[in-house]
């Protein structure tokens, strides 16, 4: 597993290998073939940030470049899934969910339940999220809490190239609708990834760093920011355990609670807005089920309850950084009654 590839390449490899393995896997979305700067299909740029590069020519007829109408092609993908295909649809930015949300939350998420378990909807909706690219308020949001709220959807947020490939493979093989969140700022992150196919199970958090003093529960891009903070804190003698949730639905409560019980101090780091978020969800979980073990109130490090600013300097302040996490950890270690 010595080979190192980027998050973008890992996603592309998962798509390629699953399309080779199963001919019912198709890819559809805006610019999946062409993409920014490409004159047309011949150029096959492969999506605005190049994730589907090469698939159009490699799998003729199975990469569908759709019109700019999310309600149409997300609905088509969900319909195709109910009819036996395994579509991977690309909702370019999750900020565009508004125009196709009915198909997702009121249709795909409900089919298995409303048809008494007889209907399966093996659709994957890949989507970009997160701030940091100076893309302003309508292209930078972290809307995964909205999807996590809906029963019947699985919600996945890989933080590393290894997880990106394994979780996308699992998402494609899964028989339920999966919302697959890719952070724009992670596409160039490189890391070790096996050449062979593998599927990572949903609902299994990853303990990315072990430590006995404070538990940091986080996800997505914030895993890396949390690790940076943990590294700094270790220099001061504070050992943090960092848990990457990997999937918010299903949620691995056991790993969070076991760690919280061992450390008694919990900080949740979430790039989303603070209200009704994974930060509040995990805080409530710990408060309810590990109350007796807590030595300090749970701290939350999140973005503020505002739109993502256009100003670069404000955007940098908006995104939680390592210093804020360090401060939160010091708050829980220094807390006294």
């Amino acid at each position: 597993m010595a080979r190192s590839i980027t998050y973008r390449e890992a996603l592309n490899e998962a798509l390629t290998q699953e399309m080779e393995r199963d001919e019912s896997v198709i890819v559809m979305g805006e610019d999946n073939a062409g993409g920014a700067g490409a004159p047309g299909e011949d150029d096959a740029w492969g999506g605005v940030l190049g994730v589907t590069k090469g698939l159009y020519h490699r799998f003729p007829g199975r990469v569908l470049d759709t019109p700019i109408s999310e309600s149409a092609f997300i609905g088509a993908a969900i319909g195709a899934a109910t009819a036996g295909m395994r579509p991977v649809a690309e909702l370019m930015f999750v900020d565009f969910m508004g125009v196709c949300f009915d198909q997702i939350y009121n249709q795909a998420a409900k089919f298995r339940y409303m048809f008494g378990g007889k209907a399966v909807t093996p659709v994957v909706i890949r989507t970009m999220y997160g701030a940091g690219l100076r893309a302003a308020a309508q292209h930078s949001q972290c809307l995964y809490p909205l999807f996590t709220h809906i029963p019947g959807l699985k919600v996945v947020l890989p933080a590393t190239p290894y997880d990106a490939k394994g979780l996308l493979t699992q998402a494609i093989r899964d028989n339920d609708p999966v919302m697959f969140f890719e952070h724009k700022a992670l596409y160039d992150l490189a890391g070790p990834v096996p050449e062979e196919s593998y599927a990572l199970p949903f609902g299994e958090a990853n303990v990315v760093r072990e430590g006995g003093d404070v538990t940091i529960v986080t996800l997505g891009r914030m895993v890396h920011t949390s690790l940076e903070a943990a590294e700094r804190l270790a220099a001061d003698g504070v050992q943090c355990e960092v848990i990457d949730l990997r999937t918010t639905s299903p949620l691995d409560e056991d790993t969070v609670l076991e760690s919280a019980e061992a450390t008694g101090r919990v900080v949740v780091v979430d790039e989303a807005h603070p209200r009704c978020s994974m930060a509040t969800d995990i805080s409530a979980l710990v408060a309810q089920k590990a109350f007796g073990a807590l030595q300090a109130p749970v701290e939350m490090v999140t973005a503020p309850h505002t739109p993502v600013p256009f100003s670069g300097r404000l955007e940098d302040l908006y995104i939680p950084d390592a210093q804020r996490i360090v401060n939160a950890v010091k708050t829980v270690t220094g807390w006294t009654r």
Partner: protein, 380 residues
């Protein structure tokens, strides 16, 4: 004489545990300046990005200077301490420390250079991956056990390569080799061993096999006896009915870190050797497509009920008549009982007191000595 190169000063170097290791971090010194050490004494606890281990003294003497600090990254082969007799002056030692510090302070060199290439042999339609180190000497081929891979030899491959050309392979169903194990028989796995010897172009090779790899080495030797220089078997399967069937099945069945960790713990006498990284690496392997099926196929052919199905004793006895055979076993082995060493007829036996099923990881210097001695007995 140049004080810096006083030949009575013996540097203790950062070891290279595994082909990908570039640097190690000292997590604790077991010895202090002024301590007397003998060969095999524990010097320091060292952590790499893959594994944590303990460095043992390769030479006796007095630890006069500790060069590397706890928590600091030291490049492989960088000097971390100095052993020297009392007659060596402090000035000479300080000069040697300064030189060693310069290497550590220069930082870890870029990867890339000097990495051994992983080769691929096509054996009966299966891709078999192997990697070799060492320039001259006899060919040694290291054969891992059930669920392992060529990296299981991380503490041994480089040290053995000082005098030999040392190869390690991934058996079918393991590591980065093809995951198809056919009927899962020892014969299929032995074919991979012989196929790698063909690919290397080795006319004669010394085989070292651990656990299932021991039975595989015996089968490969029996299939082509003239090619085998010697056999070193480490806690081999195939020498008695008793085996920890729960371990084999538990390893094949485990789906999560939580399930896998206690299973893997049974391999070692000291379960603290099973770090998070060890479990994560095994889990990543187990999740590759085809691995679960391969492991279950192997379990079905290895076990007859809760006992071992394969019997290597007769074949090993026949080989033992022609070439040196050595068996190494840990007295605290919880997977295959050490008493089965008695069933390896005519073999030199090394019982390592207190070691578990992984002596090549738990007590590498003693296992290395046993391998060297076996190769030496074979003669040129």
């Amino acid at each position: 004489m140049d004080a810096v190169t006083d030949e009575r000063i013996v540097p203790v170097a950062m070891p290279k545990w595994g082909l990908s290791m570039q640097a190690g971090k000292i997590t604790g010194w077991v010895v202090a300046e002024g301590d007397e050490v003998t060969v095999g004494d524990e010097l320091a606890d060292i952590e790499t990005d893959k594994i944590a281990g303990t460095l043992e003294a390769a030479q006796a003497g007095t630890v006069r200077r500790i060069v590397a600090r706890v928590g600091e990254d030291v490049p492989v082969s960088g000097t971390i301490a100095l052993i020297a007799p009392a007659e060596v002056s402090d000035d000479a030692l300080d000069a040697a420390v300064a030189k060693a510090r310069a290497v550590i302070d220069a930082g870890v060199p870029d990867q890339a250079a000097g990495k051994p290439a992983v080769e691929t042999a096509d054996v009966g339609g299966r891709k078999i991956r192997y990697a070799g180190v060492g320039q001259d000497g006899e060919v040694v081929l290291l054969v891992h056990g059930y669920g392992g891979d060529r990296n299981s030899w991380l503490f041994l491959q480089e040290p053995l390569a000082a005098r030999h050309r040392v190869y390690a392979l991934d058996l079918p169903g393991h590591g980065t080799s093809s995951k198809d194990v056919g009927d899962g028989s020892v014969g299929v796995l032995a074919d991979a061993v012989l196929g790698v010897l063909d690919a290397i172009g080795a006319e004669r090779a010394h085989l070292v096999g651990h656990s299932l790899g021991g039975a595989v080495a015996v089968a490969a030797a029996a299939a082509d006896p003239r090619r085998i220089g010697s056999l070193t078997l480490i806690a081999p399967s195939g020498f008695g009915p008793a085996i920890n069937a729960g371990y084999l099945r538990g390893f094949a069945d485990a789906q999560t870190r939580r399930e896998l960790k206690p299973v893997v713990g049974q391999l070692f006498a000291d379960e603290s050797l099973v770090t998070r990284q060890v479990v994560d690496d095994l889990l990543a392997y187990k999740r590759l497509d085809g691995v679960e099926a391969a492991l279950h196929t192997l379990v079905d052919t290895l076990l007859d009920g809760d006992e071992q199905r394969t019997d290597s004793a007769a074949a090993a006895a026949a080989i033992g008549g022609a070439v040196p055979v050595t068996v190494v076993w840990g007295s605290s082995d919880r997977v295959i009982p050490a008493a089965q060493a008695e069933s390896v007829a005519g073999a030199a036996r090394h019982l390592l007191d207190g070691a578990g099923h992984m002596p090549h990881m738990e007590r590498p210097s003693e296992v290395q000595a046993a391998i060297e001695e076996t190769i030496a007995r074979a003669g040129a």
